[in-house]
Assembly symmetry: C2
Homo-oligomer: 208 residues x 2
C-alpha cells in the first residue's frame, strides 16, 4: 500500500475512534466510558484501539485539542478587526459561556484544569500548552484596547492575558457549579449573574 493511502487510512481510523469516544463521553461521561465501550461503539477490537492510542487519557487529550480548535474558531469568527474593544470583550465572554453550556465536560480541561478526572496511573503526559491559542486571542483583544486607548494606562499586557483568562474562567465555572446558591442566595439566574460579573470585571481593565 502506498504510504499516502496508508497514512490516510490511519487518520480515518483514528478519527473514527475519536468520534465514537466523543459520543460516549458526552452520553455517559468520561469516567463511565470504558475502553471496551469505545471499542465496541467504534467497531474495532480493543487491541486495535491500543494500536492507535496508548491510553484512555491519550484519547481524551486528543478530543480536548479538537474542542479547543472549535472554541478558538468560534471566537475568531465573532471578533474581527471591525469590532471595538468593548464589544470584542463581551463577545469573547459570550463565546466562552456558550461553549461551557454546550460542552461542560470539556470546559474545565480547556481552562487548564488537571487533564483527566481520575487515572490511578499518573501517566504524566507532557502537559503541552493547551491554552496557547486562547491566550493569543486574549492578547490581541488587549492590544485592540491599547490601540483604541481604552485600557487603563497601568495595564501590562502579558500578565493581564493570564489575569483575564483566569478570572473569566473562574467566574464561568462557579456560575455553573453554584447554581443553587445563585438561585437561593443571590436570587439571580445564571445569565443575569454572568452579565453582571463580566460588566463589573470590565471595570478593572478600562479607564473611567
Amino acid at each position: 500500500m502506498g504510504t499516502r493511502k496508508k497514512a490516510a487510512l490511519e487518520q480515518f481510523n483514528r478519527d473514527n475512534i475519536l468520534e465514537a469516544a466523543k459520543e460516549l463521553f458526552e452520553l455517559k461521561g468520561v469516567e463511565a466510558t470504558t475502553m471496551d465501550d469505545i471499542a465496541k461503539h467504534a467497531d474495532y477490537s480493543k487491541s486495535t484501539i491500543y494500536v492507535y492510542f496508548k491510553s484512555k487519557e491519550d484519547i481524551y487529550n486528543s478530543i480536548v485539542e479538537d474542542y479547543m480548535s472549535i472554541l478558538t474558531g468560534e471566537i475568531e469568527t465573532c471578533i474581527d478587526a471591525e469590532t471595538g474593544f468593548e464589544d470584542s470583550y463581551y463577545r469573547l465572554c459570550d463565546c466562552l459561556v456558550s461553549f461551557e453550556e454546550k460542552y461542560p465536560k470539556y470546559y474545565a480541561s480547556l481552562m487548564g484544569e488537571e487533564k483527566m478526572t481520575n487515572s490511578r496511573k499518573r501517566t504524566d503526559i507532557i502537559n503541552q500548552d493547551v491554552g496557547k491559542e486562547l491566550r493569543d486571542l486574549i492578547s490581541s483583544l488587549l492590544e485592540k484596547g491599547v490601540k483604541h486607548n481604552v485600557l487603563r494606562k497601568d495595564i501590562e499586557l502579558q500578565p493581564t492575558v493570564l489575569y483575564v483568562w483566569s478570572a473569566i474562567s473562574g467566574i464561568i465555572q462557579v456560575a455553573d457549579r453554584k447554581k443553587d446558591i445563585l438561585k437561593n442566595k443571590v436570587n439571580m439566574d445564571r445569565d443575569e449573574y454572568l452579565k453582571y460579573s463580566f460588566r463589573t470585571f470590565y471595570e478593572s481593565l478600562v479607564r473611567r
Copy 2:
C-alpha cells in the same frame, strides 16, 4: 458503656482515622492512598474503617471540612473590625494564597471543584454547601466597603460575593497551574503576578 464515653470514643476513633488519612493524602496524594493504607497507618482493620466512614470519599470530604475551618479561622484572625476595606481585601487574598501554598491538594475542593478526583462509583453525596463560611467572610468584607463608602455605587452585594470568590480563586489556581507560562511568557514570578492581579482586580470593586 455510658453513652457519653461511647460517643467520645467514637469521636476519638474517627479523629484517629482522619488524622492518618490526612497524613497519607499529604504524603502520597489522595488517589495513591488506598483504604488498606489508611487502615494500616491508623492501626485499625479495614472493616473498622468502614464502620466509621462509608467510603473513601466520605473520609476525604470530612478532611476538606476540617481544612475549611482552618482556612476561615486564619482569615478571621487577620481581618478584624479595625482593618480598613482595602487592607482586609489584600489580607483575604494573602490568606487564600498561603493556604493554597500549604494545601494545594485541598484548595480546589474548597473552591468548589468537584469533590474527589476520581471515583467510578459516583456516590453523589449531597453536595452540601462547603463554601458558606467563606462566602460569609467575603460578604462582611464587602459590607465594610459599603460602610466606608469605597465600593462603587453600582455594586450589588450578593452577586459580588460570588464574583469576588470566583475571580480570586480562578486567579490563584491559574497562577499555580501555569507556572511555566508565567515564567516563560509573562516573565514574572508567582508572587509578583498575584500581587499585580489582585491590585488590578481591586479596581473593579472600588470608586476611582
